[in-house]
Symmetry: C2
Subunit: 338 residues, 2 copies
DNA sequence: AGATTTTCTGTGAACGTTCCCAGAGTAAGG
DNA sequence: CCTTACTCTGGGAACGTTCACAGAAAATCT
């Protein structure tokens, strides 16, 4: 980062003041819409602002007010998920909705390297934001530590293990996975596998745990394949592998809708009928679900609510209100794929 | 936005100075890794920093340095596109890559309402960022005006009409659309329609223009259906409408891959074979393309490069270097769908 | 040894606001 | 008419840095 350019000097509040023949204080009051300024003064200031082309320097303002009016949203996802996981977009929009209503600016910071990670941590600590929503953090992140060190108001989306003390909003992945697997078993299947993903995250771990719980005695560790990410590609690959291991498989729980979509493609390419030969269920109720043929039975996860509530938790902390962790309800959407 | 909480006072550079028995200046030099500080002093300062728990206030720093080290990336997309358009993610990651390398922090600002629009404009003008990459702006945006008014270094991704004077990086949508339509016609089709989208944008307009150009005498205005957004849903709907109008259609150009995917679903549900009965081509070469069966013939658009180059244009302006508009190459990816 | 350069440190000024207080003028109340 | 309250304005102080400069001490050169 280097700058050789000499910026043209911007008009300051003092320029406006002298142009209007009034004082700094009065201009400030007009700009901030405060009481106790005469109509004459107000007019003069507004005219002067236009004349000199003044626009407020937010940096100076933030310095003296000791707050920025911005909330950071940190996204720490591998490349591929930024494209494939529609949840991220929903979370973002949800958070933006509540912050916007409270007159806060949401600024999204993405972490795509070790270097990013440090820079973003600096950004959070430096007073550039008043709080942060943290999506899909890893326990090893410097981010979580940085936030905790300085007591920056923050909330997690999801509940990464090993980082206590910071409020979060999450869903009960295990319970939801158990519920939909049970439902799948209820259609009379007995040879059911799972395409598990992202076992380095709580969501991945919990969905697998829920699957195991529902399967009970039927559980066969040989029918679980593991992949690092929730992607279409791994779903395709995972299904092929499962069919290789157990050609007479009659059901599969995919760790996300994208994974399920890949799995469905693999099934259909192998000549199997869904749901007649193999039943398939997913997780997320993302736009993938309605796009599959047949449409996907899946767990509805209120992604936008996740973003909203997390933002509300941050706002609550800023106001000094209690901000308890929260677990949101999920529900099973039963459609044609099983 | 309101705050009632009294923040715990953070340690300042002066606290560190007195804790170390040295001066402000020396501490500053240590923190910024400058020359001309003795080993003794450096050690003492580092120890003091740890002891008092100092972390630099970036707001104050930015004020005196008159720069923020951050670049904004403005996303002005309707809800649905944030989920469906994988280009956005690529652009974002591309921009982040070059900015990160130059030690700039990328901050993404999304616009989802009129209110957001004004707030983001303020954010840009307030000195909170040193420049901006603007994705998918509308001519009517206050953003573009705001940026231009204050001479904030900026670059567009895409080339919105009616906003001159600001550099951009784009692809030649018209030429690319013409090329792939010509290729489709080369397979011997004569009754070819188009599912056009987003005609309020340059990309939408240009793709339609390119299609017309390639069709020449074969062009039939009755075989163009128009939708507001590049989505799977509109692709599905558009294809159904086209088939209703012209059941013996033998080719279709969809304005994007997502649209093409929807169209392919509609075709297959109507019992038609792709590519035997109807040939279909898309635009973007997004992850959709490989996911269709058969895989989609489409125009490869270097989305990450768009982000990269746009970021480079902004950086160039900051350094006072020339920043000419740029048109990136596209290529036709010919696969199984036509 | 004296002159010159280099290394190191401290301090005042500046960045552009907001906030608080003092004081002047004006309106209201008895 | 005097008190009290309210309205309006100006200016000092503060927010927490960086930067330029000055001066002292140490190292190097002639």
């Amino acid at each position: 980062m280097e700058s050789t350019r000499t910026r043209i000097r911007r008009a300051t509040i003092n320029d406006v003041a002298s142009a209007a023949g009034l004082s700094r204080g009065t201009v400030s009051r007009v700009v901030n819409g405060e009481r106790y300024v005469s109509d004459d003064a107000k007019l003069a200031v507004e005219e002067a602002i236009l004349r000199v082309g003044y626009v407020r320097n937010s940096v100076a303002r933030n310095l003296v007010r000791q707050q920025s009016g911005a909330i950071g949203l940190i996204i720490h996802e591998p490349h591929s998920l930024l494209f494939e996981d529609p949840n991220i977009g929903s979370i973002l929009l949800g958070a933006n909705a509540v912050l916007s209503a409270a007159d806060y600016q949401l600024v999204s910071l993405i972490i795509d390297s070790e270097r990013d990670s440090r820079r973003v941590a600096d950004y959070l600590q430096g007073g550039l934001v008043d709080g942060a929503v943290i999506v899909s953090a890893r326990a090893s992140d410097p981010i979580a530590l940085a936030v905790k060190n300085l007591g920056v108001p923050a909330a997690f989306v999801g509940h990464p293990p090993g980082i206590p003390d910071i409020p979060y909003v999450a869903i009960d992945n295990a319970a939801a996975a158990e519920a939909i697997t049970a439902r799948l078993l209820g259609t009379g299947r007995t040879r059911v596998g799972m395409i598990a993903c992202a076992l380095d995250r709580d969501s991945g771990q919990d969905r697998l745990a829920g699957f195991k719980a529902a399967m009970g005695d039927l559980f066969d560790p040989g029918l679980v394949v593991e992949y690092p990410l929730y992607t279409y590609g791994f779903g395709l690959e995972g299904m092929q592998e499962l069919l290789r291991r157990r050609p007479d498989l009659d059901g599969v729980f995919a760790a996300s809708d994208a994974v399920a979509a890949g799995a469905m493609t693999a099934l259909q390419e192998s000549g199997r009928q869904v749901p007649e030969d193999v039943g398939i269920v997913g997780f997320d109720d993302s736009s993938w679900a309605l796009r599959c043929r047949p449409q996907l039975s899946t767990v509805r996860q209120p992604a936008d609510l996740l973003g909203k509530r997390a933002a509300e938790l941050v706002l609550a902390q800023i106001k000094g209100l209690p901000s308890p962790a929260e677990v949101l309800e999920t529900s099973v959407m039963w459609r044609g794929s099983a």
